[in-house]
Symmetry: C2
Subunit: 350 residues, 2 copies
């Protein structure tokens, strides 16, 4: 009857990390019992559990995750993939919020977040390889551009994926959580109409971006609903501040009488404010401006503070994580898009 009674001393060489076997020997039990105690399985006597936990503490034991996930086939890690050109991710505070919210949300469910950026097409194979490599149990993906090869590549993956925002490609058969961009744009335009504006222009995002296209559609709908002409009042931007500035300059040229601007992002609204100021127009007296995103560190900080369509990235992440967890738990969830409502945060600019 092999009864471990001798207590081996802790390992001397400091870079040799103790293994489960070491802990077991030190505690005077078997590897199996040690494993059970550490993973608080049932069927371990309080006595051996205590001995094992003490041993683990004494030896400074921490389990080797590679070994564990080799057998459990789980990593307890989830990738967050941002597929956007570098400049975009840097400038747009939306992504900072997303990253942090994702971290909190995943940490709360005991899952480690692995953040990945996909800057260009060149990064796609590396990303796929990584996701395939069994590093993660699943992925939350933000890939908003039409024609982004990533979503298509991900379809073939053996890893569950939930998209944030409608992916550029056909979204049938994928899990996604999106904001109601169209309704948000309508809210913005209706607010401008209510404050007496009649010549309401829009600065759009990149139109290969479904969210941008939806915001444009919402603007158009709200104006047509009110029976107001909008010919020549739309100008394309790319979500950056500079593009907002350029767009307004062009619009003022075409339509000097404009009295309202709906910018499809807060940053473009910031550019718009700058261009309007330069052109000698005051906001909100001459022109009312409404943004989109209502980023807490941008919109209220502008002068004047920006009225903006409020969306809550935290809620988006929350829903995405919830869906992903359901998938990981093997629940039979039908792939579909969850649509989150948006509201209007009214400040001084309109």
């Amino acid at each position: 009857m092999p009864r471990y009674t001798l207590r081996v001393p802790p390992r001397c060489s400091q870079d040799e990390r103790p293994t489960l076997e070491d802990v077991a020997a030190y505690a005077g039990v078997s590897r199996s019992t040690a494993s059970r105690a550490l993973n608080d399985d049932a069927y371990v006597s309080p006595r051996s559990r205590a001995k094992v936990l003490d041993a683990a503490r004494d030896l400074g034991y921490s389990p080797n995750q590679a070994a564990r996930s080799l057998v459990t086939r789980r990593t307890d890690a989830v990738a967050v993939v941002l597929s956007e050109p570098e400049a975009k991710v840097l400038d747009d505070p939306y992504f900072a919020t997303v990253m942090h919210a994702a971290y909190r949300e995943l940490a709360a469910t005991g899952v480690q977040m692995l953040l990945m950026f996909v800057d260009s097409r060149d990064d796609v194979p590396r990303t796929i390889r990584f996701l395939e490599g069994g590093h993660v149990d699943g992925a939350l993906v933000f890939a908003p551009h039409q024609g982004d090869p990533l979503p298509t590549a991900l379809r073939l993956l053996r890893v569950p994926v939930v998209f944030g925002g409608r992916p550029g490609t056909k979204s049938r058969g994928t899990h996604a959580v999106d904001f109601d961009n169209r309704a948000g744009a309508r809210l913005a335009v209706r607010h401008l109409l209510q404050t007496g504006r009649r010549r309401i222009a829009t600065v759009t995002g990149m139109l290969d971006h479904p969210a941008a296209a939806d915001r444009l559609a919402g603007w158009r709908e709200a104006l047509e609903e009110a029976g107001i002409d909008h010919t020549g009042l739309s100008e394309a931007g790319d979500f950056t501040m500079a593009s907002g500035e350029r767009a307004i300059t062009a619009l003022l040229e075409r339509a000097p009488d404009l009295d309202g601007v709906f910018a499809a992002s807060d940053l473009m609204a910031a550019g718009a404010l700058q261009a309007l100021r330069r052109a000698g127009r005051t906001v909100p007296d001459d022109v009312g401006v409404v943004g989109f995103d209502d980023n807490p560190s941008v919109a209220p900080a502008m002068s004047p503070p920006l009225t903006s369509v409020h969306q809550d990235p935290r809620e988006q992440i929350h829903q995405m994580v919830k869906r992903l967890m359901a998938l990981l738990a093997g629940e039979p969830v039908r792939p579909d898009t969850i649509m989150l409502p948006v509201t209007l945060a009214v400040r001084d600019s309109a």
Copy 2:
């Protein structure tokens, strides 16, 4: 003589991922040869190498990283740890730059970035456990607060760590890459002096933050060097915009004659501009304002565009990664702090 001649068909069950053994069998070689071919070792005939690579492609093989790192004891992943309260990371665009730069830099060296946030003391044990768990080969850590328990805990770790910014605790024996905050502050103040300001106030960051303390020290030094009194001209902030606003309001009360402000961050400078505007002072005519960080998406966007001390987070990350790679390669690098120079980006605010 066991010669694998039969070509087994690809596995049918789609969620069963092919293993190296499968690839080897399909290619008609042994597991060892397949491994050598895929890791392009020497001593593999061109013929078998080709067969193996074809097989891997046909079967859609991707190696199991857990199994690999179990034996190699390497993960080819590095953690980036941001130890800051949530609000800070969200608001401060500096961190967005850091994250992205780290990703690019690490990807270029073939290393995957794992991003971790440490919001509160409660997160420390989990973080330590993760880093200890063999998930990563090393870590880049931003933990700027004095009294942050993380750096001390990391000392006991068997994982190489490089700090970004001087860690709050004693930095002896640690690797770190910092900016020359003191010199930056002196640059800012000298510029204000050169433009004729004489009553130059400062809004500091949290003073448990070595960087904030250094910037304060630089401000004081430059003024004393010029023989100018600075009593009562320093007010504590916490790097946020709101705190900048509050601080300036308080300073104007105490010293209505102030004609220069050095804010220890761009966001606080933004708050300062707002408070000055509210008090009826114009910038730069009545008061010159200089910020710190020169964040590309903040400083140039202000009205007026902000003169700010320019630091380059990319360079910081570059140096940090370089150092970490040296440590991982086993090079005998003496622990020390690399000090990066800063410059002054002159715009309209001063």
